[in-house]
Symmetry: C2
Subunit: 149 residues, 2 copies
Amino acid sequence: MSGYAPSEAARRSGFSLDTLRYYEKIGLLADVERTAGGQRVFTDDDLSWLLLFRCLRDTGMPIAQMRRYAQLARAGEHTAAERHELLHHHAARVEEQMRLLQRQYDHLREKIRFYERLPGAVRESQIEQPTVAAGQAAGQVAAGQVAAG
Amino acid sequence: MSGYAPSEAARRSGFSLDTLRYYEKIGLLADVERTAGGQRVFTDDDLSWLLLFRCLRDTGMPIAQMRRYAQLARAGEHTAAERHELLHHHAARVEEQMRLLQRQYDHLREKIRFYERLPGAVRESQIEQPTVAAGQAAGQVAAGQVAAG
DNA sequence: CTCCAACCTGGAGTGCGCTCCAGGTCAAGG
DNA sequence: CCTTGACCTGGAGCGCACTCCAGGTTGGAG
């Protein structure tokens, strides 16, 4: 099952057509095959690269680094150690990112609870988010809530 | 304990001085107090706003939305419902973001395992990351690993 | 009083990652 | 053959969130 039209590759990877062309132009994706008429044909290989790029982008890797990775991979087997290292470091950054995101998410949820404890807040919140213990709309504003309401 | 110098506010919030000025300029932070000579003095209130902005930025909220939130808050108590809604929707987006990040992190870890199973990969990986079951450097390349090495 | 680091302003510039455009070409259905 | 929608190229433009700059002012230590 090889040979995807540009639109199909875009659909499967989640990148736009322009982005696919851009990635090729800057040397992320090398040597994409063409039809006699010059239109791109993406292989399964290209697709697996795109899925990797999708992963790396979604986890915040800058394009310059993805490019380095791709160039190492093309340079041959002997760069495996460096590629491993690159991914390994990236994973560490992602872990840090996840921790930060979790922390700030908790902060956010606390802020939201402040609104849910506000008198008069018993409306759609009850409908849209019935998870958090419903039924206490006490008129007590959380202490320590200075401003930034 | 009120009245922080700009540099102190920057340190505590994690924003640069330029960013603090920028946030004031675009109307995120309103009416920051000044000394007679015109230098900014940040209050505890300002600080708690900044920490909220830090939270929202770290979780990917665009500045335009933070601005809307801040303007609602300044408009008075009667906007509490809308502010709640705004944060609530944002929280949902953050949850989605966390799920995606986790998924792609898993993908990344699988990729890394591919390198760790490569023969000859028994080096620093053993030292830097002793967590994942050490001791299997079998010479078997994972099946299905087409390219994007 | 002097010094100098920290601060001020308005406005221009930057880096990233696309995204859009004009003006053509290709290829499959009818 | 003709049409039409998907595709091609090079290059300009964009949106975001800052970041930097020049040229001047402030204010606390010595």
